[in-house]
């Protein structure tokens, strides 16, 4: 399937990745190569085949609903780009 520049811009928006003009055309070309590869799947008849999520068909384990993790806020915030009063700082969202 061919992919249009505009679609790549939309994908980049969905993925929150800034693409400038020069990378946009290069990215569009290389995505077209990859999409040509994965489009080979369309020729396969998969009627009635159950999609496979885990190779051994394992299911999620359940555990008791109790607190198991200790509070590590200080440790985890020590590696953050910006914190204040125990909160993660980001650019202003609401004016």
């Amino acid at each position: 399937m061919a992919i249009e520049r505009q679609q790549v811009e939309q994908l980049a928006h969905l993925a929150r990745i800034a693409l400038d003009e020069s990378t946009l055309s290069r990215t569009t070309r290389s995505l077209a190569d990859v999409l040509a590869l994965i489009d080979q799947l369309q020729a396969v008849d998969t009627t009635g085949i159950e999609p496979m999520a885990h190779p051994l068909d394992a299911v999620q384990r359940l555990r008791a609903d109790i607190v198991t993790e200790p509070d590590q806020r200080d440790v985890l915030q020590a590696i953050a780009p910006a914190v204040q009063d125990g909160l993660f700082l980001v650019p202003k969202v609401i004016e």
């Binding site: 990745i17 800034a18 080979q40 799947l41 396969v44 085949i49 590590q72 650019p91």
Partner: protein, 485 residues
């Protein structure tokens, strides 16, 4: 000292031929002297290693040592190591000092093993040449103008260059086996769920699996035994007893049935590589095994299915890197959206961004059924091929990669050319089966890998099959020029 295998190093420590401090210092000196030729390490943790070595020596003096206590090794830089930078080969995590240890790291620490550092890798394990690393490419010790393979190129190279006796690695589509093949060492990707993924930075969670790299099958058996096992912190880890992987290493191979898939010897396979693999198969016949011609009819669909599933899972997994809580954040963001978009544009390299975009495409509204669901269906067809084959045979063998190590830049700008490098390894990840690679010859002075694919949880048999071959061959003992000194 560096010519000893990992098992021999452990035995020498037990016999008090040298201390852990001595062997650790010896390897640290080699890394300091030789790794400028290879770039196999992102971080060398010399002070920490010597402290761990002293602790290991003290533990031995107290009679509390395990067999691997005091043995030096390296972790792929995808495993979180408390207090040590864990970069995953990416600018995004260049400043990330992990606040916790991965389960694999905890287990090796508990065994008293000594970490020398963190090895280079393709960014977020996405690549087959180690060329996508933020820290620069790794040079293949057999020919420094060639790639070592990837994504575990640093781990494979430091083992081949005798800078460590063993290293950890991960394999999502071939990232243990292909670099092991290209660097002339032994590596094993276990059954999906055999080793905990907790603290291993996620790429494609339904495919990722950790495993060991070393020079011999015996070394790999020792390292696997120390890393495998159930972990309640990984919801996909399987609660199954870990066997003694050394117990059956020497078992006789008479009566072994080896499946040889005709799809693995077709177009695209280098003729000289094929000849080396055929020689190895003949050697197995001499050891009493029978070769069985088999077919894995859906093999050609493995690469396309993988390049839907892996990017889809990666686009979800890598959404966590947003510049808020840890890792890279762009300078002077205008607003929140600008911060996300520029952080991710500047923090990720080209291949990672490409896979995130492909994943976003495959998962976007209206395309989910045509791509992701379809790929998961094809995945079951591929698995069924293997299930049918294992009704007739004990193991499957073929080449690990289609050709020996290639020159830097040789795969050009078409990403698909690089993706086809993993044509023989990807199907086992999709099926969740264990696979390994061991040296079986040379083409133009570059190593060739023989791939062994086993049934679920049949790692002990694969190691036995590999070990017996290594008893009658010496490909795995060959040393690249330039590493002897």
């Amino acid at each position: 000292m560096h010519n000893l295998t990992l098992a021999q190093t452990a035995q020498a420590l037990a016999d008090k031929q040298f201390s852990s401090r001595e062997v650790t210092q010896h390897y640290l000196d080699r890394i300091a002297r030789l790794d400028k030729n290879y770039n196999s390490f992102i971080t060398v943790t010399a002070d920490l290693a010597l402290a761990e070595a002293d602790a290991a020596d003290a533990r031995r003096a107290n009679g509390k040592a395990d067999f691997l206590t005091g043995v030096p090794f390296a972790h792929k830089d995808i495993f979180c190591t408390k207090g040590v930078r864990t970069s995953c080969g990416s600018r995004m995590l260049d400043n990330f000092i992990s606040p916790y240890d991965a389960t694999v790291v905890e287990k090796y620490r508990a065994a008293g093993m000594v970490m020398l550092g963190k090895t280079n890798m393709d960014e977020f394990a996405m690549g087959s040449s180690n060329e996508t690393s933020f820290y620069g490419p790794v040079n293949n010790p057999w020919d420094t103008s060639c790639v070592p393979g990837g994504s575990s190129g640093g781990s494979a190279t430091c083992v081949a260059a005798r800078l460590v006796p063993g290293a950890t690695a991960t394999d999502t589509g071939g990232s243990i086996r292909q670099p092991a093949a290209l660097c002339g060492i032994t590596g094993l990707k276990p059954t999906y769920g055999r080793v905990s993924r907790w603290g291993m930075i996620a790429f494609a969670s339904s495919l990722d699996q950790a495993g060991p790299m070393a020079r011999t099958a015996e070394d790999v058996a020792l390292m696997l035994g120390a890393m495998a096992g159930f972990d309640p912190k990984d919801s996909t880890c399987l609660d199954k007893e870990v066997p003694d992987y050394l117990a059956d290493l020497n078992k006789d191979l008479r009566g072994l049935k080896i499946g040889v898939p005709r799809e693995y010897f077709g177009e695209g396979l280098n003729e000289k590589t094929a000849a080396q693999v055929q020689n190895a198969l003949r050697e197995y016949e001499k050891l009493g095994a029978t070769l069985v011609d088999i077919s894995l009819p859906h093999s050609a669909l493995a690469v396309p299915a993988y390049y839907v599933i892996a990017p889809a899972e990666c686009s979800a997994n890598l959404s966590r890197f947003d510049g808020v809580r840890y890792g890279y954040r762009c300078e002077k963001p205008q607003d929140l959206s600008d911060m996300y978009c520029r952080t991710r544009a500047e923090g990720f390299g080209e291949e990672v961004k490409r896979r995130i975009l492909v994943g976003a495409y495959a998962l976007s509204a209206g395309f989910y059924d045509a791509y992701y669901r379809k790929a998961q269906q094809v995945r079951r067809l591929i698995q069924q091929d293997f299930i049918d084959a294992f009704k007739q045979v004990d193991v499957i063998m073929g080449p690990t990669s289609p050709s020996p190590a290639f020159a830097f830049g040789a795969k050009g700008s078409d990403p698909v050319a690089m993706y086809l490098e993993d044509i023989y390894t990807i199907a086992t990840n999709l099926a969740g089966l264990p696979g390994m690679s061991l040296p079986c010859g040379f083409v133009d002075n570059k190593p060739v890998g023989l791939q062994i694919i086993g049934n679920y949880f049949d790692e002990a048999r694969m190691l036995n099959v590999a070990h017996r071959y290594q008893q009658v061959s010496d490909w795995h003992m060959q040393m690249p020029a330039g590493v002897a000194v």
